[in-house]
Symmetry: C2
Subunit: 279 residues, 2 copies
């Protein structure tokens, strides 16, 4: 199958590695405004060639849109405008506005809205890795709005990436990801800023940083060009969860202020039950 | 050298593995109220034998106190009461109250206050690992209050654990660890509680959990018996940092509420500079 990947970055590039290795993609075409990314993608063999959008889509069986969600919102209708029988999928971290943007498009059924639940704090094709995706969930949203042959291609693709499928509507997806991904990033950004603010007056503060700190601030290295559009598009859900998170933090604060250590222990013990979920 | 380890858990047990392997400890004696921990320590070869406190201290060259910081506060003066020429060190996550507790003790100079900056979210001797400590910092506090021969033993010990030394006074240590460790734990506990609260009404919430979420909530598995006493002893510093962290989170909230996305991008770009610190 000929596959065009629009945006040959961390996600697009990591997909390319595995789709080529598994034989799913016989030929990968990269479409990307970033010349340096195109060069790296060719050098690393992530893409076989680089083309303009129109000619790439024209000769492809599948078009994967793997660019920031604000750019996806603009480009997806343009891609569907030139699509004939091709399948189109996105991999963005928000789903509701993207599905709304093409809800009335005559080629809507050639599009499948998806979100593979994998990423790192790095970006660009230089960070693409073969071990991406394995064992994680891939979400397919609003599947009834997609042609069955397109769905079959997407299912086969995620099977080749060793992901398991989860189906939900776009609205539910955006609530879930606000909890499970978007607010984790805000927490991490805010924690980094807390410590960096202190560092201005005390440049030895990081001497003691160890694994626990690294783990909680790792996501703070994530790219604003990717994350601002996610927060914009999922603004209301993220605000709801952020308010809840701040109120949970204030419970810890109140325990310390009032020296209510039994309640503090019960808050920690409740948090410990996350062991059920993550091993 | 004969070494007594009081509290043969994650830290004490991991120390035992390396101190025996490196030849620093010719004989390790475990002192622990937890019979199951003693049994596991003997089975895993972390300790050569188990003894009562008094007899263990009497025949040892070095006594390592590796128990929760509330228990250390009580036990350290008791240990110094029975010490003759032995060296004594603790490994607790707070330092100021512990140093104050023995400031006027006649054997104060036989004690060295330390904190190796390593841990995991697990506890007990079953979680002790040989790869612990390597490459991390070990803090020695108020070194001038310790006899040189005791300091030399502690330096040699941390060298055998492949740690580098950082010297600071106990008050500075407690401020630093509030930033770099204690508030990370509160953030993680609170994030876990935020998501667990949502799960009560939606039991599919964790289907999408991936690496980013796991990274930020990993510390939420940490033990309340260890962490409540740390928060109690470092209450004022932790409250200061927690207030700062909540105000940093509120900046993100204000950006979203006011749709001020330029400022949101600048907050994220500021957080990105944590790359300087953690690779």
């Amino acid at each position: 199958m000929k596959v065009t990947i629009i945006g040959i970055g961390l996600i697009g590039g990591s997909m390319a590695i595995k789709l080529k290795a598994s034989g799913f993609a016989s030929h990968v075409i990269a479409v990307d405004n970033n010349e340096s990314h195109c060069r790296i993608a060719l050098e690393r063999g992530l893409a076989d060639e680089v083309m303009d959008l129109d000619e790439a889509v024209a000769i492809s069986d599948l078009v994967i849109i793997a660019i920031p969600v604000d750019a996806t919102l603009k480009l997806l209708p343009v891609v569907l405008d030139i699509v004939k029988t091709q399948a189109v999928m996105d991999v963005g971290s928000t789903k509701q506005l993207i599905c709304q943007a093409v809800a009335d498009h005559p080629k809507r059924k050639r599009f499948c809205a998806t979100h593979p639940m994998w990423g790192t704090e790095y970006s660009g094709p230089g960070s693409a890795i073969a071990s991406a995706f394995t064992g994680k969930a891939a979400v397919i949203c609003n599947a009834v709005e997609t042609d069955n042959d397109v769905l079959d291609i997407v299912k086969k693709l995620y099977s080749n990436l060793h992901m398991h499928l989860v189906y939900m509507d776009a609205a539910a997806h955006d609530v879930h990801t606000a909890y499970i991904s978007h607010v984790s990033h805000i927490t991490s950004f805010a924690l980094a800023n807390t410590v960096l603010e202190k560092e201005k007056g005390d440049n030895t503060i990081f001497e003691l940083a160890s694994g626990g700190f690294e783990s909680t601030v790792r996501l703070a290295k994530s790219n604003s060009a990717m994350w601002v559009p996610i927060f914009v598009q999922n603004r209301e859900n993220v605000l709801d969860v952020l308010n809840e998170h701040i109120s949970q933090l204030k419970k810890f604060k109140a325990c310390l202020e009032k020296e209510n250590y039994d309640y503090l222990a019960s808050l920690i013990e409740n948090a410990n039950s996350i062991k059920r979920i993550i091993k």
